[in-house]
């Protein structure tokens, strides 16, 4: 994975390009951030289609208000926050808080020779969906986005201690659900 500092800088560069040439530069930002924004939004909406809608609305806002991202002190956390807000708006509108037992909505990428690994991935995604959003989003921000609890706290408007305890509870719950993890350790 790209080191966070480099990634942050690349997002800032994209923000500068968007400020200069608006929607023409949006493709660059999409290519750089779409997968990461999507997986975060999917964690919140628990449905990929809704997450894609949230992502689309976020990026359209970024393009239509050209200096929005550039004005942000930290463009990447700001973008994550934007996609979070859009996801929550969609969730509120659809009131689809019920847990989706299957992962049929997910579009996935796995090589043919990685079927075993895919099982683990599915376990993880399934387990993440069983967590309360408050916990699952802290887990993904911490692990996937490699953010510190201070950064997570700042982004979610909670204290670092709250972010850490949500992470701890989340991970404890995941421990009991991700069987593959234990198998790996016992091996």
């Amino acid at each position: 994975m790209t080191p966070p500092e480099t990634f942050f800088e690349r997002v800032r560069q994209c923000a500068e390009r968007i400020a200069e040439s608006r929607e023409a530069a949006l493709s660059g930002l999409y290519d750089l951030t779409a997968s990461r924004l999507l997986r975060y939004a999917t964690t919140i909406t628990r449905n990929q289609h809704d997450a894609e809608d949230a992502l689309q609305m976020t990026l359209v806002k970024v393009a239509s208000e050209r200096t929005l991202l550039l004005r942000a002190e930290k463009p990447w956390p700001y973008l994550l926050k934007m996609v979070r807000n859009e996801s929550l708006i969609i969730m509120r509108r659809k009131k689809r808080w019920s847990f989706l037992g299957n992962l049929s909505d997910l579009l996935t990428q796995t090589n043919v020779d990685e079927r075993e690994i895919e099982e683990t991935h599915r376990e993880v995604w399934k387990a993440l969906r069983t967590l309360p959003t408050q916990q699952s989003e802290v887990v993904v921000l911490k692990i996937w986005e490699e953010m510190t609890f201070a950064q997570i706290g700042e982004m979610l408007d909670v204290s670092p201690a709250t972010a850490a305890s949500r992470y701890r509870y989340g991970l404890e719950k995941l421990e009991s659900k991700i069987r593959v993890g234990k198998t790996e350790v016992n091996r």
Binding site: R22, E23, L26, S27, Y30, D31, A34, S35, L38, R39, T42, Q48, E52, L55, Q56, L59, V60, A63, S64, L106, L107, T108, Q109, T110, I117, E118, T120, H121, R122, E123, V124, W125, L128, V139, V140, K142, I143, W144, T148, F149, A150, P160, A161, A163, A164, S165, Y167, R168, L171, E172, L174, E175, I178, V180, G181, K182, E184, V185
Partner: protein, 137 residues
């Protein structure tokens, strides 16, 4: 990981937690955006920006039109007044008026002409006065 993170994060030595963190990290790239999302996003952004540009152009034109009306109305009045002021009677008209005054008042044609010019000057002075008042407003 900073000091706060080392203090607050769960026991990093726990092998279970390490394995779970690893499993979650590995699953991060499992989900991918659908193939049509990129063109959809770019198209939606283009539409949105196009609409914004159209709205801005329309409001700019409205503003320009409003300004034009604002400036044109007094200007038109000014021009009309100036035209009115510059429309002096012809020599034939002056002659006719002189004849009328002469016949009405029983005075000679020369005095009739003098009377016609006196009235014309009064009329021009009156118009000029009104024009100045309008300009001052």
């Amino acid at each position: 990981m900073n000091r706060l993170d080392s203090e607050l994060s769960p026991d990093a030595d726990s092998p279970f937690e390490q394995a779970i963190e690893r499993a979650i990290r590995d699953a991060g790239n499992y989900v991918r955006p659908s193939d049509d999302l990129r063109p959809r996003v770019v198209e939606a952004a283009k539409d949105q920006c196009g609409q914004q540009r159209a709205r801005r152009t329309a409001s700019g034109m409205m503003l320009a039109f409003g300004l034009l009306i604002l400036v044109a109305t007094p200007s038109m009045k000014l021009i009309a007044d100036r035209l009115e002021r510059s429309q002096s009677p012809t020599s034939d008209e002056m002659q006719q008026q002189a004849m009328q005054y002469s016949l009405q008042s029983g005075i000679g044609p020369n005095w009739g002409l003098t009377e016609a010019f006196t009235r014309l000057r009064e009329l021009q002075a009156d118009r000029f006065g009104r024009l100045q008042a309008t300009t001052r407003q």
